[in-house]
Symmetry: C2
Subunit: 392 residues, 2 copies
C-alpha cells in the first residue's frame, strides 16, 4: 500500500425530501447564492420551485444562471463568473448532474482569480481560494457531488480538460433518489458506465497489498451492475436508484483509490471523443473501456483474473488465465449492451478519419510534448490509436 | 435503504513518516496545543521526541498531559480540562490509541462547558462547541481517530458511557503503520475484535436493500481477518498493519452504517464488563459477540446466512440454514481463539455473581427505566443475562 492523504469532507444528505432542507443548510453559510442549472428540466419537474421556496422561506437571497449543456462549456462559466462578481455571490448551489456541478466549480474558481479560469485547466497550478459550492444531484453519474474535480470543454479550442483541488469539494450534497425517476434510460446507462469507470480507474493497479480497497471496489462495481439492471426494468425503483446514487458518490470521493497507483487512461482517451464529437461521456467510456482492457491486460494478467472472477463472476480453469480474462471482458461488454450502451465508435457516429489526431491529442503528442497516459500501463499515442482501432 | 446524513471530514494522512508532518499541520490551526498521551510508551519508542521536535520546528507552543489508562477515566479528563483552561489551549493532539483519543475528546468538550463534562455522557444533549482535536494513532482498534464518538468511565460510579457529536470528529489523523510494530500481540487481537465489532454493529440489520453497504462491510471484515492473522505471524508486517489501520478507520467513520438501522447491543453489553471488571474492550467483545449472535440469529436467519457465506466462507446446503449459521458462528469463534482472544467470561476472570446486576445496568433496568438494547433484536435485561449465561 502506498502512502495517502484522504480528505472527503462533503456532507451527504441522502433520501426522500432532503432537497427541502437546502434553505436551512444555506442560511448560516451564504449571503447571496447563485443557483446554477441546466436546460430547464428542473423547472418542468418542480424541483426549481421546491428549491427556491426553501431558500425564500429561509431568507436566503439568490440569483440564477441556467443553460449548462452536457460537456459543459467554458463560455458559460465565464458568464457565471461575471454574474457572481457583479452580484457579490458568496455561495454557488448547483442543481443538476455532473455537468452542472463541474460548471459551478469552474465559476467558483474564477470569481477570486484575476486571469482566465481556463488557466487552471490548461496549466494546472494551485488554487488558493474558491467560492464554496453545494449540490442537489439530479443525475447519478459523474461523482462530482463528492469530488474536488471539474472537467470543462473549451469549445473554441475543442479541448476538454480537468482540474482538481480540495477547495472544490462541495460543502454538502443533497441526494434524493426520487429526483432520478424522470431520467431517460440513456442517462441511466451513461451514468452507470461513468460510475463504473471511476471505480475501474482506481481498481486496475500495479500496487500490491491493497486488500481493503480491492474489496471495496469490487463491492461497489457489483452493486452498480446489479442495480443498473433493476433500475432499467423499473425506472421508479427507489431502492435501485438509492444504491446507484450512493455507489456513485463512494466511487468518486477518493476512498477507493487510496494507497493505490491509479490509472485514468480511459477517461483521457474518452475525453478526446467528447471534445471533438460531443458524445456522451458515459457512452464514450462504454466504448473505450473494454478496448483498453484488451490492450493492457497482459501487463498484469492476475489483476484482470481477479476482476473477471471477483466482479464478473467468471468460473473455470485458472490454468488458462487468458480465457478467464477474455470471458470477464466479454461479460462487461454484454452488460453494457444489455444497458443499451454503445460498444463501438461507429455506434457513436465516429468514423476512422480523426483517430490518429485524437490519439495524438490524448497524449499531448500533438502539442509536441508527449505525456503518456495511465498508471497500469503507460500508453503512448500509438497505444491509444490501437485502442481506438480495437473498438472502431 | 433509509435516509441518512453522512459527514466524515477527518483528513487521514497515511503512511511512513507521516507523523513528522504534525507540526506543519498544526501551525495554521493552533496557538497552543495540549499533547495528550498514555502510559509513556510514546516516550520509550521515540514518538514523543519526533512529535515535539516537529512542533518546535514549526514554532507551535504546547503543554502536555500523560497518564491515560485503558478504559479512560473521567478524573483525568477533569484534570485536562483544568489544564486547558489555565493554559489557554486551543487545540488538542491525542498521541495514542482509542483511550487517549476518547480522553482528548472528553477534555475538548469540557473546556467551553460550564458544568461537569460527565453531563454529556450521562444526560446526552447537544454539544455547542469543542476544542478541535487531531490524532496520531498508535493502536488500530477503536476507530476514534475518524469518529465523533467518545467513551469514558466514571470510576466513582462504575459507569462507562459514550457520547457522540460532529464537533468531536478529529480535524486530521495521522496513521503510520510502523508505529504499530511494537504493540504486544494481545493489543493486536483486542484491536481486531473491536474493529470487527464496529462493522458487525452496522452490518446486522433488519433494513432491506442495502447492497452497497453490505458489500463494503463484508470486504472490510474479510480484510481485517486475513491481515490480523498475517500480523500475528509477523508483528512488523507493514502491509498487514496498513490494511488493519485503514480498515479500522473505514469501519468506524460512519460510512458502513449509512442507510441501515444499526445494532450496537454488543458494545453496550460489553461496556458493563469493562466498567466493573476493567477488562480490555476487545477481549470483552470477543466473548460477547458470538453469544449475541447465538441469541438473536433466529430473528432474521437470512442475515446470518449471508454473514456465514459471504464473510466466513461457509458452503453447504442452503436447505439447512441453521447449520450454515452455526458453522459461521463457530468459525468466528475459532478465529478469535486463533488470535489468542478469550471467548468465555471465565477466561476474562468474570464469575457468575454479578451477571444479573450487569444485565440490569446494561438496559438501565437497574435505574428504574429500562431501555432495551439493539436494533436487530430488542434486548431486555433478561436477554442480556441469557447472552452472559451463554458465554460464561
Amino acid at each position: 500500500m502506498l502512502n495517502f492523504d484522504f480528505y472527503a469532507p462533503t456532507r451527504i444528505l441522502f433520501g426522500k425530501d432532503t432537497e427541502r432542507e437546502v434553505g436551512a443548510l444555506l442560511k448560516p453559510r451564504a449571503k447571496k447564492v447563485l443557483i446554477h442549472y441546466g436546460g430547464g428540466s428542473i423547472k418542468r419537474s418542480g424541483l426549481y420551485d421546491t428549491v427556491t421556496a426553501s431558500l425564500k422561506s429561509a431568507g436566503v437571497a439568490f440569483v440564477e444562471l441556467g443553460g449548462v449543456m452536457p460537456n459543459p462549456r467554458l463560455s458559460l462559466a465565464h458568464e457565471g463568473i461575471d454574474l457572481c462578481k457583479r452580484e457579490n455571490v458568496d455561495f454557488i448551489l448547483a442543481v443538476g448532474g455532473g455537468s452542472v456541478i463541474d460548471s459551478a466549480k469552474a465559476i467558483a474558481m474564477g470569481v477570486y482569480y484575476d486571469g482566465d479560469v481556463w488557466d487552471f485547466y490548461e496549466k494546472g497550478g494551485s488554487l488558493e481560494r474558491a467560492v464554496p459550492v453545494a449540490t442537489i444531484l439530479t443525475i447519478p453519474a459523474a461523482g462530482s457531488e463528492s469530488s474536488g474535480d471539474t472537467v470543462i470543454t473549451n469549445e473554441e479550442k475543442a479541448l476538454k480538460y480537468g482540474y482538481g483541488s480540495p477547495h472544490l469539494r462541495p460543502v454538502f450534497s443533497i441526494m434524493n433518489p426520487e429526483l432520478f425517476f424522470s431520467l431517460p434510460k440513456e442517462q441511466l446507462a451513461y451514468g452507470v458506465a461513468d460510475m463504473m469507470s471511476h471505480v475501474f480507474e482506481r481498481y486496475f493497479t500495479q500496487t500490491t497489498h491493497t486488500d481493503l480497497t480491492d474489496g471495496l471496489c469490487e463491492a461497489t462495481l457489483k452493486t452498480l451492475m446489479k442495480n443498473a439492471l433493476l433500475a432499467k426494468e423499473n425506472m421508479t425503483d427507489y431502492n435501485a436508484w438509492s444504491e446507484l446514487g450512493f455507489a456513485g458518490t463512494v466511487a468518486h470521493n477518493g476512498l477507493l483509490g487510496m494507497g493505490r497507483e491509479q490509472d485514468w487512461a480511459c477517461h483521457d482517451i474518452e475525453h478526446e471523443l467528447s471534445a471533438i464529437y460531443d458524445v456522451p461521456h458515459g457512452g464514450g467510456l462504454a466504448v473505450v473501456t473494454p478496448g483498453w482492457m484488451q490492450h493492457v491486460y497482459q501487463e498484469n494478467i492476475n489483476m484482470f483474473v481477479q476482476f473477471a472472477v471477483n466482479v464478473m463472476g467468471v468460473e473455470g480453469s485458472f490454468r488458462d488465465p487468458d480465457a478467464i480474462v477474455q470471458e470477464g471482458i466479454l461479460r462487461l461488454r454484454e452488460f453494457f449492451i444489455k444497458m443499451g450502451l454503445p460498444t463501438t465508435l461507429s455506434e457513436l457516429g465516429i468514423g476512422e478519419d480523426r483517430l490518429e489526431e485524437m490519439a495524438q491529442k490524448a497524449t499531448k503528442a500533438a502539442f509536441g510534448k508527449e505525456s503518456p497516459l495511465g498508471g497500469f500501463k503507460k500508453l503512448y499515442w500509438q497505444d491509444v490509436l490501437a485502442i481506438y482501432e480495437l473498438v472502431k
